[in-house]
């Protein structure tokens, strides 16, 4: 599994990693400083101890040198080196020597290698340098070598004077190896402590960052839910702090609550609108069917009373026929409008052109000017619904026009869409009723059913198309329809 880029890591991990890193770095820095300081302090103390030991030798040495008592000089070095038998002491004498002004050995802790009376012969470059510095000094000094290594040492160098005459030098060299071991164990303790604090710090950091980031995670999840449109099952983020994140959480909770309320309201509105529409349809059907029915029932009643009156029969029968046809039309339109989804039939585009003849025939006596323009591909197959749309729009336009009016039909393709435009030079639609234009049973015509444009609207909607109305008072009206035809292109 590939590790994702740090940029996409969760904030809680990044925060706790940062805290852990900071704690570790700070811990190690403090630890290093502690160990180094500790080392320096003990190192300096070791130097002072070496100097002190040299000085203790230097007190008695001049007299012994004057007496030529080399054995006493040697014993003083030896006793000094084994001052704490058994305990091991807190220092370790590597070597000690007393040299005369010419650098000859007066006494040496390793007499076999450094015979008395012969010139002290340091071998290495460092040793030679230390030897020269020891012989050169006329004041007590501490010479260091080896730095932080376990083979390092501190050397106390004390020049010997008798009656202001320089008589030689005492050198006592202490090993830092015990110091080194001490520093090592201190470092180990410090390391363990640091690790302990790192673990504690990291755990605390993780807990703190988790707690800090938790509301942010909830906000993010909430926003993602909003993006998906799920808002109802959102649980409010618990707010414990009053900091920026706390305030963000509070605000977010409010926004979510308001969004949820809005959605609920919208749903309620949609529901009530549905009920209103249903009511309107019901009322429309009741009204539109009831009107002819009253007349029909009247006619039937009259005919039943005068079954032999031929005059009455001739007069009422066409009325009954007309009324029943009207009811049939209304029911047909309602069925068309309500069952549009079921219709999947396609027809050739030329079927639309036949409507010209139909409309022209229906309005032959009204002197309506019909301008017909079809710029589409003649082989195009279109849903049958389009034929109905065009017929309804043309019929609507013609009905609103006074005699001698003009209707223009224009159909063409634009990309994957079929564009239909039906314009008239009629009186236009008043702006106050434009919202109700596509409502069922809404009509301004005396004999209109109020279902024609509603059916158009429903058909366009079912094809996921768009219908627009451009209209101004006394400037005519244009219906503009765009429906996708990509799925209905002839194979």
């Amino acid at each position: 599994m590939p590790i994702p880029s740090p940029r996409s890591w969760p904030l809680s991990i990044k925060l706790s990693l940062t805290i852990t890193t900071v704690v570790t770095v700070v811990g190690f820095m403090i630890g290093t400083v502690m160990v180094v300081q500790d080392w320096k302090r003990f190192h300096d103390e070791l130097g002072e101890k070496a100097l002190l030991l040299s000085e203790s030798i230097a007190i008695t040495a001049p007299k012994a040198i004057l007496r030529n008592d080399h054995w006493s000089l040697y014993l003083s070095l030896k006793n000094m080196a084994s001052r704490r038998p058994g305990t091991g002491g807190n220092h370790q004498v590597i070597t000690a020597m007393i040299l005369d002004p010419e650098g000859r050995v007066l006494a040496h802790l390793q007499p076999a290698e450094n015979p008395m009376g012969l010139h002290f012969s340091p071998d290495k470059g460092v040793e030679q340098d230390l030897f020269i510095r020891a012989l050169g000094t006329r004041t007590p000094i501490v010479l260091s070598s080896g730095g932080y290594s376990r083979t390092g040492f501190q050397e106390g160098v004390v020049p010997l004077f008798s009656d202001q005459k320089y008589m030689g030098v005492v050198r006592v060299r202490l090993s830092v190896s015990q110091l080194y071991e001490k520093a090592k164990s201190t470092a180990a303790i410090v390391l363990v402590l640091i690790l302990f604090f790192v673990i504690i710090g990291s755990a605390l950091g993780t807990i703190v960052s988790r707690r800090m980031v938790k509301p942010l995670t909830a906000v993010t999840q909430g926003l993602e839910a909003v993006g998906r449109g799920e808002m109802t099952d959102f649980a409010p983020i618990p707010v414990k702090e009053r900091d920026e994140i706390g305030r963000l959480s509070v605000t977010f909770n409010q926004i979510m609550a308001e969004l949820a309320e809005k959605k609920m309201l919208e749903e309620e509105i949609a529901m009530s609108e549905k009920l209103i529409a249903l009511g309107r349809i019901t009322a429309g059907v009741a009204h539109e069917v009831n009107n002819p029915l009253a007349g029909l029932l009247n006619c039937v009643d009259t005919l039943r009373k005068h079954p032999d009156d031929k005059k009455l029969i001739d007069r009422y029968l066409p009325v009954i026929d007309q009324g029943l046809h009207r009811i049939k039309d209304i029911v047909h339109n309602l069925l068309v409008g309500l069952k549009i989804e079921e219709s999947q039939e396609t027809v050739n585009i030329e079927h639309v052109d036949k409507l010209y003849d139909l409309i022209a025939a229906e309005n032959r006596d009204r002197n309506i000017d019909i301008i017909w323009k079809n710029n589409t591909d003649k082989n195009l197959n279109i849903p049958g619904k389009i034929e109905q749309i065009v017929y309804n729009l043309l019929k609507n336009a013609v009905e609103i026009l006074p005699d001698g009016g003009r209707v223009a039909f224009h159909m063409h393709q634009s990309g994957q869409h079929l564009i239909i435009e039906v314009s008239d030079n009629g009186p236009g639609i008043p702006s106050n009723i434009r919202n109700q234009l596509f409502d069922p049973f809404f009509t301004t015509k005396i004999n209109g059913s109020g279902l024609g444009l509603w059916v158009v609207y429903r058909l366009v909607q079912s094809m996921e198309g768009i219908i627009e109305v451009i209209s101004e008072k006394d400037q005519g009206t244009t219906f503009h329809v765009a429906v996708p035809i990509i799925t209905t292109r002839a194979a």
């Binding site: 030529n68 054995w71 040697y74 014993l75 030896k78 007499p111 076999a112 008395m116 012969l118």
Partner: protein
């Protein structure tokens, strides 16, 4: 009543005076190992018990200091080396008390020792080397090697690169064992004593020359000390091997006992001292007078 008090007074006085009588002071030098203070306490207790007087051992670093104490009368007895004993003093303030018997005879030797890993086989191999003497007033630790050198017409300052005194036979052994000195001259009694009690030191040394026998370092009394005290001390020491406590103490000293021997026992040392005195007065003791 008064008489009774008077009688009581005289009766008490001797006891009182005996208690307060100055203790017998006995000087010790490095001819014996003086580090063992517990042994010295036991020995002084033994002598106190026998002599019925407090005995106090007086320790000094060098033979010279002990000789000075004898001269000034600060000590009554001393265990000294044969070399100071044979010195001519005017007036003489020493007299021979008794001589320790060591391994059946009142004799001991001077050992010339070197480090056991050193290549030196003969005394002449030590030419140009570093040599440790014990005490400038010691027969075995100084006079004998001087004579050895003088026999070949040499002197220490020209024969050896450097010399030093340890003022203590045991420390001479230590100096050689620790290679501070390439060679050294020691008392055979001390070396053998160390070989028993501190073999780790003597194991690091090797004897390359053993001198002829010399009179064992004697115990002397100061001229002028109460004759009875001298006799009591002499008898006590010479009879130590007669009782168990004395035997235990003698065993600790690794001695057979103490015995009466004539002054002629020290003629060899006397001859060597004279020889050195003739050749170079620098190495002889200045007359103490």
């Amino acid at each position: 009543m008064r008489l009774i008090y008077l009688v009581l007074f005289f009766w008490i006085t001797p006891t009182y005076s005996a208690d307060t009588e100055a203790s017998i002071r006995f000087g010790l030098t490095a001819v014996v190992l003086t580090e063992n203070l517990r042994f010295l306490d036991q020995w002084s207790e033994y002598l106190e018990h026998k002599i019925d007087r407090k005995v106090e051992f007086v320790l000094r670093k060098s033979y010279r200091e002990v000789m000075d104490l004898l001269d000034t009368g600060d000590i009554e007895f001393a265990w000294i080396c044969g070399y100071p004993y044979v010195q001519i003093r005017k007036p003489e303030f020493l007299q021979l008390l008794t001589v320790p018997v060591y391994r059946g005879a009142p004799r001991y030797y001077s050992y010339i020792i070197v480090h056991h890993k050193s290549p030196y086989k003969r005394f002449s191999d030590l030419k140009g080397k570093l040599f440790a003497f014990s005490d400038p007033d010691s027969n075995s630790g100084f006079l004998y090697p001087l004579v050895l050198l003088a026999e070949k017409g040499n002197k220490p300052e020209t024969f050896f690169r450097q010399t030093f005194f340890t003022f203590n036979h045991a420390e001479t052994v230590q100096a050689v064992s620790e290679q501070v000195a390439d060679g050294g001259a020691v008392d055979s009694y001390i070396w053998e004593y160390l070989a028993v009690f501190k073999p780790e030191i003597t194991e690091k040394t090797r004897i390359i020359k053993k001198s002829p026998g010399f009179g064992f370092p004697p115990i002397v009394s100061r001229v002028g000390v109460n004759r009875d005290t001298v006799k009591l001390m002499k008898d006590t020491l010479e009879n130590m091997n007669q009782d168990s406590t004395g035997k235990i103490l003698l065993d600790r000293l690794k001695l057979d006992g103490f015995g009466h021997f004539p002054d002629s026992l020290f003629n060899e040392i006397r001859a060597m001292a004279n020889r050195i005195q003739r050749s170079d007065s620098k190495y002889t003791m200045s007359p103490i007078d």
